[in-house]
């Protein structure tokens, strides 16, 4: 037998107590141990499902088994036969417990007449599912437990066509621009690499020219390792440093200022390194000596 969760067992015990039935956990000693097993097996689904079978579960307990009590219908357990008989009687007799009424709302009309008199009214599943099967609700999985849910509705549009059209247009524009630019502008290819001829100036690729610029001011270890290391580290950990939850620019003046300062500083260093450094990596003006820069 599969393991029944603790909270379902507890709920079943409470409900059985309310119905005045023997509870297996506490005073279940009066019932035979053999009869306890089917009674408990019934209890788990019954917890969520309407409990019309609760009184019926008594049947095997009283009979002490399922074979001898209701043996007239080959193999169908006595308590099920009993339940079916009772439900049919209920449908025939009670006009209010019609099949169109929601299962949860319909009170058990017949069933354990004595038990339901005192207990809170428990719905009987008078509605049958497809193929005549009675549906039982085992458990309700709330959506929040398996996926992210939002309380408020969001203004959304279909990805196709709204987003895909934009993406397609963007890729077309970039492809066209790239193709035209590549057809017009040649990528540089200087002479064969020569270890004996150092060009003056020697420059790193443009995105590292900021670092090379720092090299003119600091010791190589500071400029080449420490500063970029710290900058990259701070950048990566920005979300954990910036605890301000707001996304609105006016609440983020400090963060925006720092970042803008950082980006501007970097851009200025790259631009100086690219266009304002001539032979010997000395400062020159591009309008005086020309540009010493290759992409």
């Amino acid at each position: 037998m599969t393991e029944v969760p603790e909270h379902l067992l507890r709920r079943s015990r409470e409900r059985r107590k309310a119905l005045g039935l023997p509870v297996p956990g506490e005073e279940g000693e009066e019932a035979a141990p053999a009869a306890e097993a089917p009674a408990e097996g019934e209890a788990a689904p019954e917890a969520e499902a309407p409990a019309a079978e609760a009184p019926a579960a008594e049947a095997p307990a009283a009979a002490g088994g399922e074979g001898d009590g209701g043996g007239d219908r080959g193999g169908v357990p006595a308590h099920l036969l009993e339940r079916s008989r009772r439900r049919r009687a209920a449908l025939a007799g009670g006009g209010d417990g019609g099949a169109e009424a929601p299962a949860a709302a319909a009170a058990a009309p017949a069933g354990g007449g004595t038990a339901t008199a005192t207990a809170p009214k428990i719905a009987a599943p008078t509605v049958t599912g497809p193929g005549g099967h009675t549906q039982r609700l085992l458990t309700v999985v709330k959506s929040g437990s398996i996926q992210q849910t939002r309380a408020e509705a969001q203004d959304k549009v279909h990805t196709w066509p709204h987003l895909l059209v934009v993406e397609f247009a963007a890729t077309l524009v970039v492809s066209a621009a790239l193709l035209i630019f590549s057809a017009l502008v040649r990528a540089p290819l200087l002479g064969l690499a020569d270890f004996n001829r150092t060009p003056n100036p020697s420059k790193a690729p443009w995105y590292f020219l900021g670092l090379q610029e720092l090299l003119t001011m600091f010791h190589p270890m500071v400029a080449g390792v420490t500063i970029p290391g710290i900058a990259l580290g701070l950048l990566a950990f920005a979300p954990y440093v910036d605890k301000n939850p707001s996304h609105v620019p006016k609440d983020r003046k400090f963060a925006i200022s720092i970042m803008t300062l950082f980006l501007m500083l970097w851009a200025v260093l790259v631009i100086i390194g690219s266009f304002f450094r001539g032979p010997g990596f000395n400062f020159v003006f591009p309008w005086n000596n020309g540009i010493f820069f290759e992409l």
Partner: protein, 265 residues
């Protein structure tokens, strides 16, 4: 798709042509082969209509579009919000992969052959010069778009909870992009490549404690040599693309898991 409704022509020939086209359309797009290729909801399928159901199917039934959710926030579709920078970085990566594979057919990573191969590619291979130019300019452009994408994300505050980790991945992707560009810089084996890389690797030689070891691992020798070229070639065409694709997969996946694009502000 209304292929010839016979109203505008009015003459017999026009109507007959419309009928022939309609039959052909039914034969081709109604065939088993066609319907097996284009899944339900495909715009190429016969009888496609613009319904919410089909709009969803277009995304769900296509392996490429499937990267997207079926629906996105309305403000996230505006070009002015993202400037398409992240998507364009990815697109440029694809362009670089395609052009790079083309270049690999004509290139040998040895000090003796590399420069000559590039020279031959430029002068003797059909579209060789164009494809090399595209590869180089797309590479510079990608560095730029990745950088601008990062700035955009920062100014929108999009790195805040629950997107902190995706920002960290993004910084890693930026670093990998720079490394990809830098390793590719050496491959033409011309004066520009050699001395730019010399400047760059000299800087890494100043890493505290392990400086000379770091430099040796990077260069495969004490100074830049044919060993360096081979090493950087493998990094450039194999290892770094492999790593960056993994990080990109996580990056895109997290964008969706963290609830799509941030905002609106």
């Amino acid at each position: 798709m209304a292929i010839g409704n016979g109203r505008n022509g009015g003459n017999g020939n026009g109507r007959r042509l419309a009928k022939v086209l309609e039959t052909a359309d039914e034969k081709i797009r109604g065939s088993q082969a066609w319907t097996s290729i284009f899944r339900p909801g495909s715009v190429y399928r016969r009888g496609y209509t613009d319904s919410p159901r089909n709009r969803s199917y277009v995304i769900m039934n296509n392996v490429l579009y499937h990267l997207h959710p079926v629906k996105v926030k309305r403000h996230a579709v505006k070009v002015s919000y993202t400037l398409c920078l992240g998507g364009l970085s990815f697109f440029l990566f694809i362009v670089l992969t395609v052009t790079g594979i083309f270049l690999m057919f004509f290139y040998r990573p040895t000090a003796a052959a590399a420069w000559n191969d590039v020279q031959t590619l430029e002068t003797a291979v059909t579209f060789g010069s164009l494809v090399r130019n595209m590869h180089r300019w797309a590479a510079h452009l990608m560095v730029l778009t990745v950088f601008l994408h990062m700035s955009r994300v920062f100014y929108h505050g999009a790195y805040k909870a629950p997107r902190e980790f995706n920002w960290v991945i993004g910084v890693i992707l930026l670093t990998l992009t720079l490394l990809l560009s830098f390793t590719g810089y050496l491959l033409p084996w011309d004066q520009l490549a050699l001395w730019a890389v010399t400047v760059g690797t000299n800087m890494m030689g100043y890493t505290p404690v392990f400086g000379s070891q770091v430099k040796f691992v990077l260069l495969g020798s004490q100074e830049i040599s044919s060993a360096t070229l081979l090493r950087w070639y493998v990094l450039h065409v194999l290892l770094l693309p492999f790593v960056i694709v993994i990080f990109m997969a996580v990056h895109f996946w997290r964008v969706r898991k963290d609830g799509g694009l941030s905002g609106p502000l």
